[in-house]
């Protein structure tokens, strides 16, 4: 191994090749802190060519690797491989090109999600995908895991906003996938690559589509005395033919947490809060708002607030976006799941989750993207109590199976990663998984690129109780 490391030392200066235990510690896990693994080393490339050289080194020495950005993966997707290499891409963090007229931005993988919108803002443009981790998560990681956010029903996920990528394949070859045009005339190779969880290679240059910023927002906060009523309200909005940019629900535990954390001014007695946001051209939004207000009024909300200013709107969203990390105030530890159910099954799913919560004796807070049926149950536990983590994991598994049984998915936006790979077989048949594996092995016969993720089987590192991610403790990242 030292021979191999010597070779790596010729590729990277000491400041960008980390091997000492103290240097490796921050890379041992991602936002799914229950998993931890010690890599052989971490390299911090600064160019495409360095990534190519690194991947070639891995192939030569048969060393598995994981490429990683800010490590905000909630599915353990950027968890290191024990004894493998971590390729940290945070130094490849440049905006390479911004063309407001063509509405595209070309970035390196370590560029931060929120910075795209900030760079585009002077031109009246923005980057639509808005995972809650957007102040720190990188575009490279967003691409690998096809990140979502609160606006997916109308605008899609990351995949719908990536136009092209320069990719280093697992054998070190470079290909260009996609083009500046959102249309293409052959198989959508880029569409396959996005969301492949790092198993098909490393993107070193990413072309993003920018959208014009909506002219007006209309943000409504409605309080209900039951979750079911909030769920019915969502169905009523959909039935009315409106297509809001976002529809979010929080339950009482999540409200309590958000209030304690950021004092968003939410009605504290509410059993459920619904946030609905319309956006678009002013005359259209004004007309839609009249319809929406009517629907909400009839939905049995006991209190309705409409944001009267940009500040009020931000405040409503602040509570929602902070809800995840805020739950940390209610419990020393928690697991977040992100299964999806058909919208009409939301009520059934929530009832079932409540029942499971009682059976397991663990509290579950719910914050979810109601518009697209994407649940986010937060399972609260105390890792210091023997067996509680295992029970929480078991409960999480039951929720995933429930989502599949209701016709949904085990993950809406967090990805399979390490966490949910055992549940892939619940959703896909052997033939489905075999086809995916064949594709993977055609691109990576040695299975070096993010080995051990997404597909069932292989060894998972032991579950360890380890508390929140350091960035999370500092309030920099949150889990969505």
């Amino acid at each position: 191994m030292s021979l191999a490391l010597n070779e790596l030392e010729r590729l990277f200066p000491p400041s960008r090749l980390l091997c000492k235990p103290g240097e490796l510690a921050p890379y041992e896990s991602d936002a799914l802190t229950a998993f931890r693994a010690r890599p052989l080393a971490v390299v911090l490339p600064e160019s495409h060519d360095e990534v190519v050289a690194t991947v070639r080194w891995c192939v030569k020495h048969r060393i598995p690797y994981v490429a990683r950005g800010s490590g905000t993966s909630l599915s353990g997707g950027s968890l290191p491989i024990e004894g493998g290499l971590v390729i940290g891409l945070n130094r490849m963090n440049k905006l390479l090109r911004l063309e407001p007229q063509e509405r595209i931005a070309v970035v390196q993988p370590g560029y931060i999600n929120l910075q795209v919108s900030q760079a585009a803002a002077p031109y009246g443009l923005y980057y639509a995908p808005d995972p809650s981790s957007q102040p720190v998560s990188t575009i490279g990681g967003n691409l690998a895991f096809n990140s979502g956010g609160a606006h997916c029903l109308k605008y899609g996920m990351t995949s719908n906003h990536v136009l092209a990528a320069r990719v280093v394949l697992p054998d070190g070859e470079t290909v260009e996938l996609g083009s500046e045009s959102p249309e293409n005339t052959g198989p959508d190779w880029l569409g396959l690559f996005v969301g492949s969880e790092g198993l098909m290679g490393i993107a070193t240059e990413i072309t993003l589509r920018l959208l014009p910023k909506p002219e007006t927002y209309h943000t409504v906060l409605a309080a209900y005395d039951s979750l079911a009523k909030a769920g019915d309200a969502v169905a009523a909005v959909v039935a009315s033919g409106l297509l809001p940019g976002a529809m979010e629900i929080m339950d009482s535990l999540a409200i309590e947490a958000a209030e304690a954390a950021v004092q968003a001014g939410y009605p504290k007695a509410a059993r459920a809060l619904l946030i609905v946001e319309l956006e678009g051209e002013t005359p259209q939004v004004e007309a839609e708002a009249r319809h929406l207000d009517e629907v909400i009024r009839r939905s049995g909300a006991y209190e309705v607030r409409v944001a009267q200013s940009a500040e009020e709107r931000m405040k409503i969203w602040k509570g929602r976006k902070a809800a995840f990390s805020a739950v940390g105030r209610l419990s020393p530890d928690y697991i977040v799941q992100d299964g999806v159910v058909p919208r009409s099954k939301l009520g059934q799913a929530l009832q079932e989750i409540e029942r499971l919560s009682e059976r397991y004796g663990l509290r579950v807070a719910n914050v979810f993207h109601a518009g697209d049926g994407n649940l986010h149950p937060l399972i609260l536990y105390n890792g210091r109590v023997a067996g509680e983590l295992e029970r929480a994991e078991e409960l999480a598994g039951e929720i995933l199976r429930l989502c599949v049984a209701l016709g949904g998915s085990i993950t809406g936006e967090h990805g399979v990663g390490m966490e949910k790979k055992a549940y892939m077989a619940e959703m896909f048949s052997e033939a489905d998984l075999a086809a995916m594996q064949r594709i993977r092995r055609a691109l990576d016969p040695l299975e070096l690129s993010n080995r051990g993720k997404m597909f069932p089987g292989g060894e998972a590192p032991a579950l360890k109780h380890s508390g929140p991610h350091p960035l999370e403790q500092a309030g920099v990242i949150s889990r969505e």
Partner: protein, 364 residues
């Protein structure tokens, strides 16, 4: 040349057909003959027998059907519930099917508002080159589990799998629409307006350019807001143009959907607006229409195809021939790369699928 034609009526029969024939070519409604005419040795899998709706609950915005289902049937069913396929597939009246639309990767003018077929496909079931029945994606509007095989199938031209089932996200169709036709004095002025609109918060369902210099814009939304928005649009462009509403409007878009642009080959080109000036100089009199802010071009080409092939190559563009006889429907720049070859080889190692003289997998 006569080819075997098979009429499978179930995914299992598609599997059987793939396993028992050395070369197969899927065919839906035959509305894109350049892609569905068999070559020597190919058996045709006519999928018209795989045509029925599997799931549709309007409240879910999800629609699932067998791949041979005709778009006309789908659109009718969706319209009964005020919904539509937002990527606006063309050739509805010519009998195009869901499977053929996905395999050819075709969207229409309304893609401008919410995206193309790749943005609305949720799930897929297909038979790979070995006869395996494979499913990818799901039947909910949001899903990140497993590789995105549904997107991979968009534009796959039957070479990666025979589509048997497809799931789409659908949206409510706007309650009212209006179309504005605005001629400009020249291409430069028209393109300036196109860019200005595309970068503005004005939400257009269609933003087309009809050469030499006419923009055709479609607004959609609530009827009570439409007059004010139309007026704002005219003010924004400082031009009033010609307003189409009611039947005249519906007819305009229905007619365009047939893509009866002119004689000769019908070709789709993927591009961006910045290439339009050079392309306009080169294309001469070929009838054509740019859609979705200059990202999509359909043109009729009545000259020898190699000329168009060379022309597109010189502009760095790729095109797809939909109608007209050719052995090589993919023209313009070569999009082949090692990623694609390896994925194709994984799904079709023996090269059973596909309509090119040489399948991807055999070219490595």
């Amino acid at each position: 040349m006569t080819a075997d034609v098979l009429y499978p009526t179930s995914p299992a029969e598609v599997q059987e057909a793939v396993r028992s024939h050395p070369r197969v070519l899927p065919r839906g409604g035959g509305s894109k003959p350049a892609l569905s005419t068999p070559r020597e040795g190919q058996a045709v899998l006519n999928l018209s027998g795989l045509s029925w709706v599997l799931e549709y609950d309007p409240g879910e915005y999800v629609f699932v059907a067998r791949a041979g289902t005709r778009l006309a049937e789908v659109e009718q069913l969706l319209a009964q519930n005020g919904q539509y396929l937002p990527f606006d597939p063309p050739l509805v009246e010519q009998g195009a099917t869901l499977g053929g639309t996905v395999a050819a990767g075709l969207s229409g003018p309304l893609r401008q508002r919410f995206g193309g077929v790749r943005d609305f496909i949720l799930g897929v079931q297909f038979v790979d080159g070995e006869g395996n029945l494979v499913r990818g994606g799901g039947k909910v509007v949001k899903n990140a589990a497993g590789f995105d095989l549904p997107k991979l199938m968009v534009g796959s031209l039957g070479r990666l799998g025979i589509l048997t089932e497809l799931a789409f996200k659908v949206f409510p169709f706007p309650k009212a629409t209006a179309t504005l036709r605005i001629p400009f004095p020249g291409l430069e002025a028209a393109l300036e307006a196109l860019y200005k609109l595309a970068g503005s918060p004005i939400e257009l369902y269609a933003l087309d350019l009809e050469p030499p210099a006419t923009l055709i814009l479609r607004l959609g939304g609530l009827p009570e807001a439409l007059p004010a928005r139309l007026e704002r649009l005219q003010l924004f462009l400082s031009r009033s143009g010609e307003v189409l509403q009611g039947d005249a409007e519906t007819q305009h878009w229905r007619h365009l959907n047939q893509l009866n642009l002119g004689r000769g080959y019908l070709v789709k080109v993927a591009l961006t607006a910045r290439l339009i000036p050079a392309l306009e100089k080169a294309l001469g009199g070929a009838p054509r229409r740019y859609m979705s802010a200059g990202n999509l071009l359909y043109l009729a080409w009545d000259d020898p195809l190699p000329r168009l092939d060379a022309l597109l190559q010189s502009q760095g563009l790729a095109g797809l021939v939909l109608k007209g006889r050719t052995d090589r429907p993919q023209i313009g720049i070569d999009l082949e790369q090692v990623f694609g070859r390896r994925v194709a080889a994984a799904l079709d190692p023996k090269g059973r699928l596909g309509n090119l003289g040489k399948p991807y997998a055999a070219q490595d």
